[in-house]
């Protein structure tokens, strides 16, 4: 197999936890610090083969979404002027998902070190929590109350107004 003399890779193959392969352009992959690190390591070694990066924690469903995000952001990486358009796209992007998907996407963003996606997810989650009661939060995220009555009473006492 003939290989070029250049030591830079143009694409990588990413494998999801359910063993699906995704061919990803290097610029897109670089949106993830995890993938970028792998690529940089391989380039340092001078490998010219297409490399395979297995992601044992990310399913193909979720990986598709992360890559969709990375692709969009890679498109805008050199373009400062369209910040507003990208913000708009980000805003619409997360709206489509249910809370289970949002959870997996958040963990995948964390695992793949895609900081801007992680920030976006955390902001989205925070925005959905704002102004809700504790019961409503537990309901939408399906979380059980695991406090003892004494602990609950202690927490309630932390709710105070300070005056000056």
């Amino acid at each position: 197999m003939a290989s070029s003399s250049s030591s830079s890779l143009s694409r990588v193959v990413v494998k999801s936890s359910d063993n699906n392969l995704f061919v990803v352009n290097k610029k897109v992959a670089s949106q993830s610090q995890l993938l970028k690190q792998c690529i940089d390591n391989m380039e340092e070694k001078g490998t010219n083969d297409v490399i395979l990066i297995p992601l044992s924690n990310v399913t193909s469903n979720i990986l598709t979404l992360v890559l969709e995000y990375c692709e969009k952001h890679a498109d805008f990486a050199d373009d400062d002027n369209n910040n507003q358009e990208l913000k708009q796209w980000d805003h619409e992007f997360l709206k489509k998902f249910d809370y289970a998907t949002l959870n997996s996407l958040t963990m995948a963003a964390d695992y793949m070190v895609t900081k801007s996606l992680l920030n976006l997810c955390c902001q989205f989650i925070a925005d959905s929590i704002k102004d809700l009661t504790v019961q409503q939060i537990r309901q939408i995220f399906d979380i059980k109350n695991d406090f003892t009555p004494q602990e609950e009473a202690d927490i309630k006492n932390e709710n105070a107004w300070a005056f000056r």
Binding site: T101, D127, I129, K130, I137, E158, A160
Partner: protein, 568 residues
């Protein structure tokens, strides 16, 4: 779309911390930490400087644009502060623990300042230094509801006061307007502040730098009565009752450069027919629960015959439809800038379909106070409110409606930190018998009076239980006399009407409990005390007594004052 193991309670602490960091306000973080153990331990404590009311405020900036900000104040450092009206209801409610509708602002992040009701005046700056409020309030003891939120602008040189020309802090209204095209989460740069001044002009300033600014103007109409934020958009009403929606727009300087500006769109073009008395500020009020915009107009036909008209915006027909009242389930509060509905169900014992308003909230354009306002005004200087019932068009000072006045001021017992004790005494003389009356304030709100009768034979002061059902004792600083209860029809005897200074403390300070039982009317600083049940209260709560003293009855007013308002 399916996903693996979804357990929100098991998110890793780093992610939970990232989420908590974006919640913006103290109540949100408090709720977050109540969800489950894992969420709670991701954030070991609630940061002390986390804002209570609004994530972006207080916001401080130096005004570089001297033109605009010099119209606000002479200074440079300005503060945009969030303000709110909360209803606090004690969970355990013994009779003494009443509900309180408290107005607060957040000048320092995470710390609230109590204001006088529905005003911009910081209570501690207005009240005697001796009065101190609690430094903290444990909210677990209360049901807390947010009744209204708002913003105001402060600058160090602006000292609010109660005089008629109370300065900027009293006579302006700030409405924030987020650019509808801005994407969440909003930053301060996405906002424009609109400031209504009592002379009717509305200026706007972008909070982003450089801050463009200007005055609202629609084909030469530049005077407005009120502005509100309704469904994310700002609306204004002009002096003829025409309603405008205000939109963000761009002003092109040349082909490439533009600056942001605001553009008015007239959405209700019919003038409101307010007869001969259209010389008075109209008010806009938003009911956020029902998504409706109302306009309130005060019509003073003649002295003592104040009436209010209510209009509701019909967005389909672009008209202001006249409606009869606001409904039995609601109470409307109107201050100079505050304007909000509350549910009458939240205020036990309060009738709905009524309005609590300050005397300046429907000011006349020439700034004068009309005669009828002087007489229906509530008397307490901290509580210059009146009540109007839409159903029977009855109006009166709030002091006549203790169920409302108790809700606003003074603060309830549970908001006072310390117990006070005070003793003062004074001698009184009646039909050959010398009495000595001693005021004993055991603790705050527990004022009691002891009466001694001089026994000439034994040269002793004999303690007596009261002064008798047939008598009323009046005590001023120098005046001191008994009157026969029979002369005052409807007045109970065995009681004392006294001014706050008549039992002064030796150090000259006003004791805390007096500030709270004092009658509020500045011309009428009296309290009443009933010997029988040891009940005491500001005289404004006992109209049968207060009416006797002040204001002068209608028949004592010159005709000219009564008819003044008939002249257009």
């Amino acid at each position: 779309m399916e996903a693996e193991s979804v357990d929100w309670s098991e998110l890793c602490p780093e992610i939970l911390l990232e989420i908590a960091d974006r919640l913006g306000t103290r109540p949100n973080v408090f709720n977050f930490r109540q969800v489950c153990k894992n969420w709670r331990f991701s954030l070991s404590y609630i940061p002390r400087t986390l804002p209570q009311i609004s994530p972006l405020f207080p916001h401080r900036f130096f005004a570089r644009d001297s033109d605009f900000f010099s119209s606000l104040s002479g200074g440079t450092l300005h503060h945009l502060v969030a303000e709110a009206v909360y209803l606090l209801r004690p969970r355990k409610s013994p009779e003494s623990s009443k509900a309180w509708l408290v107005t607060v602002e957040e000048f320092y992040r995470g710390k609230l300042c109590v204001r006088l009701p529905l005003s911009k005046i910081i209570a501690s700056e207005y009240l005697s230094k001796k009065v101190r409020f609690s430094k903290t309030l444990n909210l677990s003891d209360f049901h807390v509801s947010v009744i209204a939120r708002g913003y105001s602008i402060r600058a160090p040189e602006i000292k609010p006061n109660l005089s008629a020309n109370g300065g900027l802090a009293c006579k302006n209204k700030l409405v924030l307007f987020a650019n509808p095209d801005a994407i969440e989460p909003l930053s301060i740069n996405d906002y424009t502040g609109l400031v209504w001044f009592d002379h009717g002009r509305v200026s706007w300033v972008r909070l982003a730098r450089p801050s463009n600014w200007g005055f609202l103007d629609y084909n030469g109409i530049s005077k407005f009565d009120d502005i509100v934020n309704f469904k994310g958009r700002v609306y204004g009403v002009d002096r003829t009752g025409k309603l405008y929606a205000i939109n963000y727009d761009l002003e092109w300087i040349n082909e490439e450069n533009y600056k942001q500006t605001l553009r008015l769109e007239c959405i209700v073009n019919d003038s409101i027919s307010s007869g001969r008395d259209g010389d008075r500020r109209k008010r806009l009020v938003v009911d956020s629960s029902s998504g409706e915009l109302y306009m309130i107009e005060m019509v003073a036909y003649w002295c003592f015959k104040t009436r209010f008209k209510v209009y509701k915006l019909n967005e389909e027909s672009s008209k202001l439809d006249k409606v009869v009242g606001i409904g039995d389930d609601r109470i409307l509060f109107v201050g100079v800038d505050w304007c909000f509905f509350a549910s009458s169900a939240d205020f036990s014992g309060c009738k709905g379909n009524c309005m609590i308003f300050s005397e300046e909230s429907f000011s006349t354009y020439d700034g004068g106070m009309s005669a009828e306002m002087i007489f229906i005004r509530s008397a307490r200087s901290e509580l210059v409110f009146s009540v109007y019932f839409f159903e029977d068009r009855n109006a009166g000072p709030i002091s006549k409606f203790p169920v409302f006045s108790d809700l606003l001021w003074p603060p309830p017992v549970w908001f006072l930190p310390e117990k006070f004790m005070n003793v003062a005494d004074e001698c009184h003389n009646y039909s050959g018998v010398l009495y000595l009356v001693e005021m004993v304030a055991y603790l705050c709100f527990k004022t009691r009076f002891k009466v001694y009768k001089f026994n000439e034979e034994s040269s002793k002061l004999d303690k007596v239980a009261g002064i008798g059902d047939d008598r009323i004792l009046f005590v001023g600083v120098d005046w001191c006399f008994f009157a026969s209860a029979a002369d005052f029809s409807g007045c109970k005897g065995n009681c004392i009407i006294f001014s706050e200074e008549s039992f002064s403390t030796y150090d000259g300070g006003m004791s805390a409990e007096m500030i709270f039982i004092r009658s509020a009317r500045s011309e009428l600083v009296f309290s009443a005390y009933f010997f029988e049940d040891r009940n005491a209260g500001p005289m404004s709560k006992f109209p049968v007594f207060s009416d006797l003293l002040w204001p002068p009855p209608v028949w004592f007013l010159p005709d000219s004052l009564q008819s003044e308002n008939l002249i257009p």
